[in-house]
Symmetry: C2
Subunit: 156 residues, 2 copies
């Protein structure tokens, strides 16, 4: 007989998943609403964040990989950001067809402004929650993420 019985951890994980989906959707729409006035969306904001956080300029495919998103969508959003003047494309000495994406002044301003809007929102949402618990939640999320990424790589 196949193993259909859940461990206690398996049960706890199963209960967690549905609420993760729900939370993720709510965070996305809240983010859209938060930075909409800046001409951003959650997706654009996230990509600007990766560009800003990188140690050096990267081509689109690398950004996509560090986001865990698919290449083509990142490409489309980067094109939009470029059209909106929020990022610039620098020639890549190592790869003629893969320009390096960098923030423009306008892009950096928009990102900083987004983070400025995010701060009080984040403070408000996290207010009253125990720092220790938030960190535990983060550890769990990271652990699950890594396990799933390993599975993806293995079972590709």
């Amino acid at each position: 007989m196949a193993m259909t019985k859940r461990t206690r951890a398996g049960e706890a994980f199963t209960r967690l998943v549905l609420d993760i989906f729900r939370l993720s959707g709510l965070l996305l729409t809240a983010g859209d609403r938060l930075v909409g006035p800046l001409g951003l969306t959650s997706a654009r904001w996230q990509i600007l964040g990766v560009i800003a956080a990188a140690d050096y300029p990267q081509p689109v495919a690398w950004l996509a990989r560090s986001l865990g998103a698919n290449r083509q969508n990142v490409q489309r959003i980067v094109n939009d950001l470029h059209a909106a003047g929020l990022v610039a494309l620098e020639s890549n000495p190592n790869h003629r067809r893969a320009p390096l994406v960098v923030l423009s002044d306008k892009g950096r301003q928009a990102f900083n402004e987004a983070m400025r809007l995010q701060a009080p929102w984040a403070n408000d949402l996290a207010d009253g929650l125990l720092l220790k618990d938030l960190e535990t939640a983060h550890r769990i999320v990271i652990a699950l993420r890594q396990r799933l990424e390993d599975t993806d790589r293995t079972a590709g």
Copy 2:
């Protein structure tokens, strides 16, 4: 001056968010892969789950509300499920235009089979994680979810 400084909890929350997005995406694709052979997707599975968990048959709009999803997408997926013979639509004595969605035998079998596949997968993913930590993560996720839902309801 605007409040741009994050509390420690606000910082922990901010760090958590990006990994939540990543995990959610990974869970969705893992779910698709898990139940794909049954003719299901993560979205279909989730909706079958709500139907199965309900105390009594509900119309589409109610299912959408308990999922926190928008009505029209649930409608489309329910239509697909209906076409695939996984759900049946019963006439609703209380509302002529809002039939009640119930699982067909085939739908119940598919859902049970999906849960049977999910069990060892969940056990494996959760293996080695502390039950206490999983429960803490769940509490945090639920708390954040409720706060965002309240915000939605307030700020429409």
